[in-house]
Amino acid sequence: MTLQFNDETFRDDYSFRNSDRAIKRFPFPFHEDSYMYSVNMEQHRGGPKDSIYEMRFDVDEHYISEMRDRAMVLADDPLRCQSLPHMTLAGWDLLELIMVSKSEDYPDLFELHRDGDTWRWVNKPLGIDDTFTFLDEATLPYGPMEYITRQTQGDFAVLDQRDDNLWMDAGMITTQADWSLDFDIGMNFFEWHAPVPLAHEKGIFIRALKFLLNIQQGAPARRLNWTMTVNPLLDTSPENYHKWGIQKTSVTPENIGAKQHLRVELQTFFRLPRSNALVFPIRCYLCSFQDLMTAPKWGRRLHRVIRDLPEELATYKGFIDNRPMMLDYLAEFDDGQATSAGIWPDLETEPALKK
């Protein structure tokens, strides 16, 4: 596979673009015409060829630009990356998991050469060729978690497991949907999920925690989550809300197709072997409404989902004010025809828009 990397920005002039390939493989998160929380977990062991599920850590055309954006966020705010002292071993676990996975899944882009504890890591897209001693922090320019997550798309929450709970004790969080590592650090699973509406009443978190505590080595899991973002911003953090929150008022009926993005998180879960911690990679994919509308099935479905979403969820996800404008736009792409089951666009089989 030869991957062309985009040179693009997720801020200021927002030159971020999805290629046709990226649109086709976008993880549209709705498998039916409505949405409610569920513990929608499945095994993370590959998926359709060229889909975002195929590899353990998906590398796509946005890789280099996303890593550049992460470096800028960290330069402004180093607290986006934190690791409590007992989490260093988990950081090495994560480094090992990513290096092994990427070098096996993308041998043309990444190489790992191990000779005992002497490891050589080659990252061709980013021009890195480092030799270091495994488990010796002094031989890397950053701590192990920071080192590898500066080279891997997606946020990473590294969760310690103890007392039948999970604890947010380390992470690299620069592409988040409005939550803060610096605020959540050291919290347990119920504490950091406290702001989520409706799900507590449904017992979702008790069941989700039980599932996560039982994720075992060699058996990773995954799910999709979603929200809405105006402009292709990766860093929608509470710390920078004063910068991006106001942009929600810049949407007009004329520009909404280009400005409004569906933001989807591919969340995966891996047990880390040496530390028994759990890593929770949260990979963000953005797609503008107008690009989504190129798949007739997605146009129909997105309209129905957004129209019927409970008010609490639209408020929590931060688009209640813009929902009427979104619906005006999306209604044009819903001709009332039935949609096929599942998240895939089914471009060959779904009927064209009749309007």
Partner: protein, 320 residues
């Protein structure tokens, strides 16, 4: 599929440690590397004993960093249902076996300033791996190990040879006992205590530490229960629409598996909670033996852990 991921291995070593304990060493059949693990993890070993498939959990005792081989130690239980006797009498060097990926239900709390290990008998095995893990990172630990006698003190020699300052051994036949209150009182702030051994010892350490004011989060224990034989009983399975006879020597979980019902499990020793099953109807008495259900659930008549618990009576209907 139920249980953890599987690995096919070859037995490369069988060593009699003493009269009761035998050590087994496994390497991957395909020559590849085994997964690393964290100290305190166990593996579930599948034993093909004639028509019966036995699945028993054993703590991994080898160095968690060593990906070439795993070792376990098995204590022969002549009163048990035959898993340990099978390991002792049937398993030979060169045999192929299937084991599970490591699963850890007895992990170190890596925040601890010091790790205080209390072992009884074969309960020493998870600590052997944890000690190797801590030694690698210059962790602070201390071991208090009670055995019946020097002859039955598995790994006493090597512990004393390599870690004489950290290791304290107590022999029952010499009337040596752990002065637990004094030991707990003397620990620095931030110490976590871990106990693995017979049921009585676990209860004693937990109760004493709590009475001494130790926070619950700093008291860790692991006890794998072997399923005990009992009276045969009949179980109706509502979802799979089957009636299964549980014989004297098999567990309820094994009977479900024999009937082709894919019931979830992980530790098979009453500790992990994975096999928790809802009871739809019953007329009789539960013999609960797990560490998972709380008091209210145990008396509710609505839950059973089929890996170790049994039933005596006329009717039992499960949500499987």
């Amino acid at each position: 599929m139920s249980g953890a991921e599987k690995i096919v291995v070859k037995v490369t070593d069988v060593v009699a440690v003493n009269e009761l304990v035998t050590r087994f060493r496994f390497k991957r059949t395909d020559g590849g590397l085994l997964p690393t693990f964290s100290g305190g993890a166990h593996t579930v070993v599948e034993m093909q004993d004639g028509d019966i498939t036995r699945l028993n959990p054993y703590s991994l005792m080898s160095d968690p960093m060593d990906q070439n081989a795993y070792t376990i130690s098995v204590r022969r239980d002549d009163e048990g249902r035959g898993g340990s006797r099978f390991m002792h009498s049937k398993v030979k060097i060169g045999d192929e076996m299937t084991i599970s990926y490591p699963v850890n239900l007895f992990s170190l709390d890596l925040r601890a300033k010091k790790h205080l290990f209390i072992a009884g008998g074969i309960g020493i095995t998870p600590f052997l791996a944890q000690i190797k893990q801590l030694e690698r990172f210059n962790g602070h630990w201390e071991l208090h190990y009670a055995c019946r006698s020097l002859a039955l003190g598995s790994y006493v020699d090597e512990l004393q040879a390599h870690h004489s300052n950290e290791t304290h051994v107590y022999f029952d036949d010499q009337k040596q006992t752990i002065d637990l209150v004094k030991l707990l009182e003397g620990q620095p702030l931030g110490t976590h205590v871990y106990v693995c051994g017979p049921k009585g010892m676990i209860g004693w350490v937990r109760a004493t530490a709590q009475a001494e004011g130790w926070p619950l989060e700093a008291i860790h224990y692991e006890e794998f229960l072997a399923p005990q034989p009992g009276k045969p009983f009949e179980v109706k399975l509502a979802i799979s629409n089957k009636v299964v006879q549980v014989s004297e020597d098999e567990s309820l979980l094994e009977a479900l598996e024999r009937a082709g019902v894919d019931a979830p499990y992980l530790c098979r020793g009453g500790a992990c909670g994975q096999c928790e099953t809802n009871v739809i109807d019953y007329s009789g008495t539960f013999i609960h033996r797990d560490h998972w259900l709380d008091e209210a659930e145990l008396s509710s008549g609505k839950k059973i852990m089929p890996c170790v618990s049994r039933f005596e009576g006329k009717t039992l209907v499960l949500d499987r």
